[in-house]
């Protein structure tokens, strides 16, 4: 009896904390539905009492190309990151390359270099090679946010693949490449998905590289869409917040999916498969 009451007390407190924490998110949604004339009302409406879809209409009319670009950039970054990280992780985890430790160390360090500073070097290179303001250029730059992380995470997961599995593949006549493609990759499916989701999220959310390397581009990502909005029409906050809500959808959806995959252990997956 007391135990139950105690649990409910905790749940109540937990709900209060969560509400406080997520208030900004709620406020973003609330403002996205607020009419222009109510925007500067004091005190503000705490609920969208005169809800409007003006903001979302503006998103549909104006932000479509930005969202499409972000999608392409996100998917491109995932593909590039996996192409580079997965073989490297396989080697580091299972093939014991000489100097592998040094490489892992370099990757750890690379992860710590601020993006703002990378952006300046990229800007200089892109300007002279003509890649400035292009989608491929942005994809390459965005991938630097993810590649070190991807290699390190995939290596950790792949190290957990039982040696017996590798040995069995070898006995069946599979070479290193075939083992990688037909055994290691399928078994690591969950970690590959996890890495892909995070990579997509980072590329989708990137502002630093977009604002430096794609400022004048014909195809700009959604983060720049919001940024231009803030700069241009300071009054239309429902449109800005509606764009923000739409830009948050992938994060929310991916979080729900990713949780499942992160939870699934890699060796557990190997046994099941």
């Amino acid at each position: 009896m007391t135990a139950t009451r105690r649990t409910w007390w905790r749940t109540g407190l937990g709900l209060v904390f969560t509400v406080l924490m997520l208030f900004p998110v709620y406020w973003m949604i609330n403002v996205s539905f607020t009419r222009d004339q109510d925007m500067r009302k004091s005190p503000p409406y705490w609920f969208p009492v005169h809800g409007t879809l003006e903001g979302y209409r503006a998103v549909l009319e104006q932000q479509g190309p930005y969202l499409a670009t972000s999608l392409v950039v996100g998917l491109g970054t995932v593909a590039l990151t996996l192409m580079i990280a997965a073989p490297a992780a396989y080697s580091l985890a299972k093939l014991r390359p000489r100097g592998g430790g040094v490489l892992s160390f370099v990757l750890l360090i690379a992860q710590m270099i601020p993006g703002v500073i990378m952006a300046m070097g990229f800007y200089a290179i892109y300007l002279s090679t003509g890649v400035l303001n292009t989608v491929p250029g942005l994809i390459v730059a965005d991938s630097t946010l993810a590649v070190p992380f991807a290699v390190l995470i995939l290596t950790a997961f792949m190290s957990g693949i039982p040696e017996e599995l590798m040995h069995a593949a070898r006995v069946d006549g599979a070479g290193a490449l075939r083992t990688f493609w037909s055994v290691v990759l399928p078994v690591s499916r969950n970690s590959v998905i996890t890495v892909s989701l995070f990579t997509f999220l980072w590329a989708w959310s990137d502002f630093v590289f977009a604002s430096t390397l794609d400022q004048g581009g014909g195809h700009q990502p959604i983060t720049l869409g919001i940024y231009h909005y803030i700069g241009n029409n300071n009054q239309q906050w429902n449109a800005i917040m509606a764009t923000a809500v739409v830009a948050s959808i992938p994060a929310t959806v991916l979080l729900v999916i990713a949780q499942r995959y992160v939870a699934a252990g890699v060796t557990a997956g190997a046994v099941k498969d």
Binding site: L15, M28, S91, M112, P114, I117, M120, A124, M241, S248
Partner: protein, 338 residues
Amino acid sequence: MKHATQTPAPPTEGGWREGATASRAGSAHRAPARRGGPGQWATGRWATGQWAAWAFLVPVVVYLLAFYVYPLYRNVDLSLRNYTVRSFVQGDAPFTGFANYAKVFADATFAPALWHTIVFTVVSLAFQFTIGLALAVFFSRNFRLSATLRALFLVPWLLPLIVSSSTWSWMLNSESGVVNAALTAVGTDPVNWLTSPDWSLWSVTIANIWIGIPFNLVVLYSGLQAIPTHIYEAAALDGATPWQRFWRVTFPLLRPVSAITLLLGLVYTLKVFDIIWIMTKGGPSDASTTLATWSYRLGFGNMLPSFGPGAAVGNLLIVIALVFGLVYIRTQRRQGAA
């Protein structure tokens, strides 16, 4: 060992298998010559294995050279030359040694930017860590909905920074922001959060704390899960109060995880640029300028960019980040070894 070269397994896919099976047969066959036998074959396999291993590493090595080392090299080069827009395009800027660095150190913005970076980082970390730890302890007692609520706490961390930053900008708006509306409701004077030099640094720090809490919560929560429950049971049997249990048991046992969390948080907080730039652009009059935003403003924020000094500030920031990054790696290694 000399014999190893006689039968090198070809570096092909098939060769791997041959090497492997032959090795087994070989070692069985020459069981008496224990030292020579397996060693010989192992060396042959080693060479093959190294070829394959490095073949898989070629993409990442090329990638690191092209997209990490080269941009960083260009950045160092930028900081050592006197670049103008013209010479930036033509690439014939004169070498000036450390002139850009001298210029940066002498700049009136340098001391405030460094100080703001320190305040922003230390205050952010202190609050993120304390709140994250309190929440982790709170959530470590399982209760109804605890898993769901914990998952919801991740949302601020996953939102694109431009989304959270612009939301905070509007919430902290002087005239129409909900924060000032709430302050007025409780009878306090409204605050010019983003437009007053006294408050802008605090505003961006508050937003950054909010964004960083989930990371601290998640890492510290997993650290708490690793503490065996029987230790708590023993403490409870000894009559320890919950408060004592936390300070005498949880906190000391959590120290390694705490060190990792704080150091990683430090490296990440030094990098923070988006939040500050979107909310205040480092202003008003540099009141919330950190090294990261200063570097960006020098390179990209003006009509006439000064790439040289911008790159110099950036390289200073890299050095600071790397120092703490190395401390982090060392701490982690030492803990892994212990």
